[in-house]
């Protein structure tokens, strides 16, 4: 223990002898340190002010410029896109209008054709109807005649059968005629 204490004391005195154990307070070395500090600072200053700072500031400015340009270009492109969309929509609307017009025109044409066709068909139908009426009239006439003939001959036969010798053909015919007229 005593030994230790002596050692400690000895070391302390030694340290104090060396300048309190703090090399920072060894003023004899200050000129050396200050000299090399000045050298280093001057070198760093020249590296920074001649090379690094102009370079970095130009890079930053260039980047800023590029970004601004890019944004401007993007705006321009966006404007173009909007214009293109407008043109597209306009073309679409035009096409739609054109289509509408064509449809209306076609409808009108078809209507006209249809009208003509209907009129034609009506005329044909009317003609056919008239023809048919005539035919029907003839048939009716033929039928009336046939009825008269049948009635006369039937009446004559009946009279012949019921009362033979009674009456003559002329009277029968007249009677049948008057009967048919009355009917």
């Amino acid at each position: 223990m005593a030994q230790d204490t002596t050692e400690v004391v000895g070391e302390l005195t030694e340290q104090i002898g060396e300048g309190g154990g703090m090399p920072q307070l060894d003023f004899a070395n200050y000129p050396n340190q200050i000299f090399w500090l000045a050298v280093s600072l001057v070198i760093i200053y020249f590296i920074l002010s001649r090379v690094v700072l102009p370079r970095v500031s130009s890079v930053l400015a260039e980047r800023q410029g590029t970004i601004t340009n890019d944004i401007a270009t993007a705006d321009e492109l966006k404007q173009k896109a909007v214009e293109a969309e407008e043109a597209y929509l306009k073309a679409l609307a035009d096409a739609r209008a054109e289509a509408g017009r064509i449809v209306a025109e076609a409808k009108l044409e078809i209507q006209a054709e249809l009208d003509v066709a209907i009129a034609k068909a009506d005329a044909e139908i009317a003609a056919k109807a008239a023809e048919s009426e005539v035919a029907i009239g003839e048939i009716r006439k033929g039928a009336l005649k046939a009825v008269e003939t049948v009635a006369r001959s039937t009446a004559t036969e009946i009279i012949k059968a019921v009362m033979p010798g009674a009456g003559d053909a002329k009277a029968v015919t007249a009677a049948v005629k008057s009967q048919l007229k009355g009917a």
Partner: protein, 260 residues
Amino acid sequence: MAEDILGAGTEGADIVSAGPEFHPMEQFTLEPLFGGHAINWYTPTNLTLWMGVAIVAVILLLVVGTRRRAIVPSRTQSVAELAYGFVYSMVEDVAGKDGLKYFPYIMTLFIFIVFSNFLGLIPLSYSTTSQFAVTVPLALLVFFTVTIIGFVKHGIGFLGLFWVSAAPLALRPILAVIELISYFVRPVSHSIRLAGNVMAGHAVIEVFAVFVGVSVFIAPLAFIGIVGMFAMDVLVAFIQAYVFTILTCVYLKDALHPAH
């Protein structure tokens, strides 16, 4: 604050110095690179080496990384651009538009400190920003530059910085004295904050590292301590570079717009 940490560090050293190989501050010793003991003002030392490494790293990340000037950046170019944008907006926000004239100088400070801090975290490296001989000149550089800018821009009107016109007239002389003192304390806190934080982190890691060798039972705890401390030092490395830079911007703002 930083001095407290320092004090704690040296006390710790005294208490545990029973172990013969306990030298948490040894890592900060300046040594000539090519043998010998004499350190003249021009002697290349381990500090020179690690400042050189920092310069190489700056060239690799910021020059080689941006060599393609790509519109769509690669990963390294993104980092370079981030660093640029980070400091640029800091200067613009804090010091204002007219502070942008001094952006290259502030960028130099930030890049130097942030690279030195991170390179100092590499095991067995030499932490240049742990040296008061490095941070004090940096802080004095800022102090004198800002003061000269203030007087050149505003002449004697720059002294309005110390004359708090918003305060009652009776208080103003007293406030002026306080403001004056705080103005001259700026380079002190500015430099000691940076060196103190970096040094304290490294010293604590060294203390934990010694404990790893002390006993098998303490070793895992000490190892966790090293990992935790290292993680914190990674944060500190960035935060202190940020703090140094933003304070520089604040001082610059005071010089450009001294009116309260």
